[in-house]
């Protein structure tokens, strides 16, 4: 079993270590933020790192609101940033 695995983040390939969290993989790739807030449209990333603050939410394999710091990365995970501002438009577009 290899020690590395591959993720897709917003369409880009990303290498993570086995056992690493999605937040860890994103930080290790040099990324600092991966969510845009609803009201201020401001960037957010890791804050509490232990699953308390819900700032680091991402969409994983099509499922929204996954805490990146709590979710272990698994091979082939498709991770996307969440747009908190346009839930309606997103739904319309996907249908």
């Amino acid at each position: 079993m290899t020690d590395e695995l591959q993720l897709i983040f917003n369409g880009e390939r990303l290498t993570a270590r086995r056992g690493q969290s999605i937040a860890g993989a994103l930080l290790a790739s040099g990324r600092r933020s991966w969510r845009t807030t609803a009201a201020g449209r401001l960037p957010r990333g890791l804050f509490c790192g232990i699953g308390v603050c819900f700032d680091c939410l991402v969409t994983v394999n099509g499922v929204r609101d996954i805490r990146a710091c709590q979710r272990p990365a698994t091979e082939g995970d498709v991770v996307e940033t969440q747009d908190e501002t346009l839930p309606l438009r997103r739904t319309e577009k996907s249908r």
């Binding site: 056992g19 600092r32 009201a39 804050f47 790192g49």
Partner: protein, 487 residues
């Protein structure tokens, strides 16, 4: 009949509790929300050998307990198990609780739902960082000490290249050491308390210091070797940057934590780790019906019993004391929950350690207590509630305009505390700001509706698709039915 003891939390308190309950011959079900045991304290990579054990205080104790609990046939260890609710029924006497947990990768969508039952429940849910807001604290790159620690210890990742560690309390030292160990340049540890407060809090505690000396000396040596300055009486009063933090303003603060005009200095950083203490994780204890003391910790007796029969609590939810107190309290709770007595000889060392450590960690805590003057570094546009993006100005003007004195209406009118974190990050701050407002009115330090932020009947989000699944029962379901027929 054999006792089944259910333990929530696999950190120092929970592991010690499970270990002691097994020693006393009980069956144990241990629930841990993370994929690995150890809690926030003993964080480590999947491969334990990769851990730099010099940065893991009491590592051997962890390995011994984790291996024992993991291999004892009387123990069921369930990791990645998020306890999200506790059903309880005081009318049924023994074993009248059911812990609802979702087991699997966070946060779903296809976790297995379980209901855990037993004769006794031990709540060892720990604590999380308390970080006071300051202008710019919502910028990426501003993280808690716990975040820096978690990333460094478990994943070997530094949250930045050029980092300041700031806030209050002894926890800042291991955070700085962990950051240095993973290659960050820590340009300073900034303690808010004055040198005089720190010295007068720490020095009289010689027995405690003697017990902690190796650990503290270890951090001090580490900081010295990495040329990390430890400075006191300073606070980060602003973070600067657009998409992420590029620098911070640091100000000298007086003994009430009020910034002293004309003392601001600018530091170039790409990350800052800020922690001003800890908030206990109380929601599951509250859900189980446990009474809190006036100090907002779970009230326990000498045997760690809560106000609810057969429900025990150990570690940070009973008072912030650190891992050594948690280990002692966990051992006591586990032993008594499994049918032992607090007077049993094998508990003597734990009882003695708890008494000594509780008194002394209280003094250390006082030396780093948050000063009321911190609110003067807030600006109207400082975010208070990170989830709902409620600013200090909006919060204040809304509360004044609506004359709101209750926490529930305050949440509904300002939205502070309504977001996905359910007020875990901003809640205590909002309560204190409301006290601040009320005091200018001669008001009380409690909300008029008696509501506290810590009550969260759903302790963690669960998906509808998961809720519809039938929960598997773990623990003493059959025995309970028999017992009820016997009665």
């Amino acid at each position: 009949m054999r006792q089944t003891v259910v333990v929530i939390g696999g950190g120092p308190a929970g592991l010690a509790a499970a270990d002691a309950a097994l020693d006393r011959g009980a069956a144990v079900v241990l629930l841990e929300s993370a994929p690995r045991l150890g809690g926030q304290f003993w964080r480590h990579p999947t491969d334990r050998s990769a851990t730099d054990t010099s940065l893991q205080h009491n590592w051997n104790a962890f390995v011994a307990m984790a291996d024992r609990v993991g291999s004892d046939p009387s123990a069921t260890v369930i990791t990645s198990a998020q306890a999200w609710a506790i059903d309880h029924d005081h009318g049924q006497g023994d074993a009248a609780f059911g812990v609802q947990a979702a087991v699997g990768s966070a946060d779903g969508p296809s976790r297995e739902m379980i209901t855990v039952r037993g004769h006794a429940l031990i709540i060892a849910t720990g604590a999380h960082d308390r970080t006071l807001p300051f202008p710019g604290w919502d910028l990426p790159g501003v993280v808690t000490g716990g975040a820096a620690q978690a990333m460094a210890k478990a994943e070997g990742i530094a949250v930045g290249q050029r980092v300041v560690v700031a806030g209050a309390g002894p926890f800042l030292l291991p955070v700085a050491a962990s950051l240095a160990a993973v290659g960050a340049r820590v340009i300073g540890v900034l303690e808010a308390s004055s040198r005089r407060q720190v010295v007068s809090g720490w020095l009289p505690q010689s027995p405690w210091l003697a017990a902690k000396a190796p650990e503290l000396a270890g951090y001090a040596t580490y900081l010295a070797r990495h040329r990390i300055p430890y400075r006191t009486g300073l606070a980060v009063t602003r973070a600067h940057g657009n998409d992420s933090v590029r620098g911070i303003t640091v100000s000298r603060i007086d003994s009430d934590w009020r910034p002293v005009p004309g003392t601001a200095e600018y530091l170039d950083v790409d990350a800052v780790c800020v922690s001003h203490g800890f908030t206990p994780r109380l929601e599951l204890a509250i859900a189980a019906g446990c009474a809190l003391g006036a100090d907002r910790f779970v009230a326990v007796d000498a045997a760690q019993r809560t106000s609810v029969p057969n429900v025990f609590c150990a570690g940070e939810p009973t008072g912030i004391g650190g891992s050594d107190v948690a280990l002692a309290e966990g051992r006591i709770a586990g032993h008594v929950a499994a049918g032992g007595a607090i007077t049993d000889t094998q508990l003597r060392p734990a009882v003695r350690r708890r008494r000594l450590l509780r008194r002394l960690t209280g003094a250390i805590r006082d030396a780093h207590r948050i000063g009321p003057g911190w609110t003067s570094w807030l600006t109207d546009d400082t975010v208070i509630c990170r989830c709902e993006e409620t600013s200090y100005g909006a919060l204040r003007s809304t509360l004044i305009a609506t004359r709101t004195t209750g926490l529930r209406p305050a949440k509904l009118t300002t939205r502070a505390g309504l977001g996905p974190c359910q007020g875990r990050i901003c809640g205590r701050t909002v309560e204190e700001l409301m006290t601040d407002l009320a005091s200018t009115d001669g008001g009380a330090d409690q909300r008029s509706d008696g509501v506290i932020i810590d009550r969260r009947p759903i302790a963690s989000p669960v998906r509808f698709s998961e809720l519809t699944a039938q929960a598997r029962v773990v623990g003493t379901h059959e025995q309970m039915d028999t017992q009820e027929e016997d009665r």
